[in-house]
Every structure is written in C-alpha cells, then in structure tokens.
Amino acid sequence: MDGVNIPLDHVLLLSALLFICGLLGLMMRRNIIFILVSLEVMLNSSAVAFVAAGARWGQADGQIVFMMILAVAAAEVAVGLGLVLQIQRRFKSLDMDDANRMQG
C-alpha cells in the first residue's frame, strides 16, 4: 500500500490528546449532551489507537475491535439519548448538577 507513512507514535499521540480532551470535557461540562459527546470522543480516541496498532503489526484484529467499539458507541448513544429525554422532562434542564438528588 502506497501512501503517506505516518509513524505509530504520532497516531498514539493523537489518540492520547483526543482522550484527554474527552476526559476533560467529561469532567468539566455540565450539559449532559456535551458529556455524551465527550464520551464519544474518548471511545473514538481508543478506536484510533486500535486501528493504528493493527496497521503497525499488519493484523486485522485492530479493525475488528474498532467495529465493536462503533457498536458499543451506538448502543451507548441509544441509552444516553433516552436518559437525556428523561432528564429534560423531569428537571426541565440538561444541567447534570441539578440531577443530584441521590446522595448521602
């Protein structure tokens, strides 16, 4: 395969940056939709790492795991959006700090 040969290090660096962005978003955003988006970013950052690793060693496993992550992400979004609707109905807002009734 002739193409631009990107070193593995660079891809892993990208993956780590994406993961940290997602993690920071998860920890800092209050809107539940952005939290879900951050989760997607984190999932996909690991997916990138899998694909890169698969390409590096010429194995198909990495791409298969990527497909599985897609499926997990889709399922997660289905559940997550259901929760979003419920939270919106119950609290009339999407701020997760309002949904803190279950405590100590």
Partner: protein, 611 residues
Amino acid sequence: MLKLLPLIPLFPLISSILLMVTLGKMPKKFVAILGAGSVGLAAVTTLLVGLAFMESGQPYHQVLWTWMQVGNFSPDIAFYLDGLTLVMMSVITGVGFLIHLFSTEFMEDDVSVSRYFAYLNMFVFAMLILVMADNLLLLYLGWEGVGACSYLLVGFWYQNPENGAAARKAFVVTRIGDAAMAVGLFLLFTELGTLDIQPMAEAAKTQWQVGDTVPVIACLLLLGGAVGKSAQLPLHTWLPDAMAGPTPVSALIHAATMVTAGVYLIARTHELFLLAPPAMLAVALVGLITSLMAAFTALNQHDIKRILAYSTISQIGYMFLALGVGAWAAGIFHLVTHAFFKALLFLAAGAVIHCLHHEHNIFKMGGLRTRLPVVFWSFLIGSAALAALPFTSGFFSKDMILLQAYELPGAGPWLWAGGLLGALLTAIYSFRLVFVVFFGEAKMEPDKLPGIRMALPLSLLCVLSIIGGWFALPLSSVFPAAGDHHPSHLIEGISISIPLIGLAIAYLIFLGGQLKVDGLVNSNIGQVLKKFWFSGWAMDWLYDKLWVRPYKFLAYILRRECMDDIYNTIVKFCQFLFMVLSRTQTGRLRWYATSMVFGLILVIALLQGAI
C-alpha cells in the same frame, strides 16, 4: 417389717402430688383427710419399722436404685436406718402428724388449704429424705427440698408483699450456707472419693490424722451449711422474719424439724468432726454466742411469734454447744425434747392468735388464763419445759448438755457459765410471755375457742413435753460413749436452781410488780440497749449496710453489661466510617467522574511503582 422403710416418705409424696394435680378442686374435707392422714400413715409405718429395728438392733441399709452413674461416681437412692435416723423420723412423722392435725382446724377458713397441705406434705417428704439418706448427695437433695418448701410456706400468704420479702430473705440467706455446704461436699468427694456416709467416715479415719487441715476445712464448710439452715450466727437473721408464714408452719418447719437439720448434719458426720478439733470448738462457740444473743433479743420482743423464734435460735444454739463439746447424744436429745415443747408453744401461740383475731402483740393480750384454759396449760407446760424447770423434758436435756460442757477440759467451765446465763434468760423471757399473755387484766376477748382438732395435738404435746425426758433414745450405737459423769452436787444444784431464779425474777417483774425495772429501762443506756436488743443486735441493719447496699450499688453499676460496651464500640466505629464515607456520595455526576479518574491514575501509578 424393715422393708416398709421406703413407704414412709412415699405416703406424703403421693398425697402432695395428688393435692397439686387436683389444683385445689378437691373438697376441703378430703384435703384435710389426705393431708393429715398421709403423715399419720407415715407415723404408723415409722412405728412399725422402729419396733422391727429395735428387735434386730442392727443398722439397716436399703438400696432402691442407682441415681446416676458418672465415671466412678454413682450415688444411690438408698436409705440408711440407725438409731439417729429413727429418732429423727419419729420426730418428723410424729410431731409432724400432730401439727398437720392442728392445721386442719387452723387453716379451715383459708381459701387455698389444698396448696397449704401440698407444700406441707412435700416438706415432710423432703425432710424424711434428708434424715434417711445414706449418702450426702441424697441428703443434699432433701436439704434443698426443705429449703424450697420453707420458702413456699413462709410466703404462703403471698398477697402481702412483706411475706414475699420474708420468704426471699429466708431462701437467700440459707442459700449462702448451702453454697458453703456444697463446696464442702465437693472437697470431701475429691479427697475421699465417696459421698456414702458410712464408707466416707471409714475412709476419713484411715486417711486423716486428728487435726489435719483438710478435715478442718471440710468440717467448717459443713458447719457453714448447718448455721444457714439452723439459723445460727451469722446467718440467723432469716428465722425471725420467717414467722410471716402460718403458725403451724412455724411450729413444724421453723421450730421442730427443718431448723434442726444442721444439728442432724453435724451429728451424722460426727466422725469427720472428731478429726477436726478446731471445727468442734467453732461449733461450740457459734452455739453459745448465738444462744446468748438470741436470748437477750427475746427479752425485748413483743410479737408472740418473734419471741418464740428467738427462743428457737437460742435453743438450737444449745444443741450446737452440745455437738461442739462432743456431747452428741445430749444434742440430739435436746433436739427431740425441743421439738416437743417448741411445737407445743408454737401451736399454743397459734391457738391464741387464731382465737384472738390474729393479734400478735403480747401487750394487747392478757388474762387469757380463764378464757382459754387448754391453751394456758399448754403454754405453761411448754414454757416450763423451755425454761428447763426440774422434771420437765427440757430440764433433762439441757442439764445433760451443761454438765457435759462443764466436763470439757480447758474452756469447759466458761462454756458452762455462758450456758447457765442463757438458761437464766430463757426462764425470764419464757415466763414473761406466760405472765403477760395469760395473767393480768384482759384486754381482748377471744371470739372463738379452740376445737377438738386443736386441743388434741396440744394435749398430746403437753404429755410429750413432760415425759419426753424419760425416753432412752437408741443412740448409744451411733455415737461414741460420752464417758461417766460425776459432777459435784454444787454444780448440779446450780443447774437446777438457775431456771427457778429466772422464774422468780420474771414473776417479780411482770406479775408481782415488786421488782421495779422502769427506772433502769428508762435510763439513757437502758433505752439504747433496749432498742439494740429489740432489733436483734442490729444484725439486719449491719447486713443491710455490709451486703445488701453494696450489692445493690454494684447491680446499679453493672445493670448495663460491661461486655456489651466492647461490641457497642465496634458498632460505633462502623457507624462513624459510614458517616464519613456517605459524605462523598454527593449525587454529582462530574464529581464521580473526576474521582474515578484520579483513582484510576492513582492505581496505575501504584502498579507502575511510581509512588
């Protein structure tokens, strides 16, 4: 005939069980017939067995069955009949029957007469087991049995809380002695390997020398049991309060039979006591001091039954004195005559109380001589025997005790002098009772007269109180011979004259009025002494301060269990951790995510060995 022996305790037992299971539904007439009749049958059987025993003259041993078998310890349910047992059985069934007969009239108005006779029959059963047992364990069964029946009968009129308290006191105080006795039995068993009385005495004689430590300790522990049951110093405080029970109960249990169980125990184990001279001396001293203290107390009481209760304590003190100086036969002789005249006095007192609207205070009585002649003569004869006037039964037995005490080398004359002082006091307080109750002006009119079922036992006991001293008890084969006594005429003369002097003093003070003691009594020291003696040498006060209050205080401190505190601390710690950790559950999603991230970082760092 001797084979009939087990029937004797069986009759009262069957009667008692029948009375218990019928729950008081039985007609009163049957109750009386069953209750008194069963003891009567036992008395007749005792007579038959006694005649057969006299013919053979040999101790008779009958094993019924093995009680239990634990290792090499296998006590039997077995009876041993010798002269001592026969004497005790005759007193228990004979005097017991007369008192049962008296009770049928005394208790006929009571609603729970069935319960009364059930307890009383059970008592006779337990007392018979006590004296017939061939081993100390079976004896202990009877010992505890009479204690339980005594508790039930003292608290018979249980609606009054005071009676319940008196019953509890009797039970608890005697229990202290019983604990000592139980320890004594354990000691004897571990040392000698058996509790059968005859083999035990043999083993003790071969194993121990006179004056060894172990027999002294064992005998002192047995003495502890005896002083508890026989109301001697320092465990005597329960007996005056035990007068809360019906009067025939006081006559049977707290005068004639149960309280003499301690005397019987020491006489039965006399071969052990002979190996322990210090324990013998302790017995004599306990007896003498108790008899003097109780006599002083009896001088000051005004409840007719309490006077008799203190006189019982005093007379049992004489029996202990006799046992302590080795006059075994004299002690048992006094036990028998005391059973006669004290039962007579108590029954007569019961008749007075019964006929006088349940009045107990002697100073509210008076002039009953002409109104209740049968009771008067009974009381007079009983008091004469109690005071040991010449030729009454009490005279012979008490004289024997005092003379043998005098013969004891060393402390003998002192014991004799103390005994004489007690005899003088006995004469004074017993005739004080007679003069105050039966002479002088009448202050109350009796509302009924004693019937035949009261008069008959009284008359029979009168006869026994007079001629009781002429019986020769079959004790010579049981006890070592006491040796010949040749007291000087002076000693004998003093012994005879002392009760007469007491009688004269009582007459001069309480009837003639020639001797004025008001000035002496009303002086400061007189008042103090009077109060002191009235309270029974303040023993109850002392025990209250020494034992009851500290015990209550401890109970107050320990009412929360200390062990619980340890477990409660663990619980408190867990609750504290829970409080702290539940703070971290804020319900904020971002907080959870952040803490998870930092936790994860921490775990990875630990795994990498960075920290």
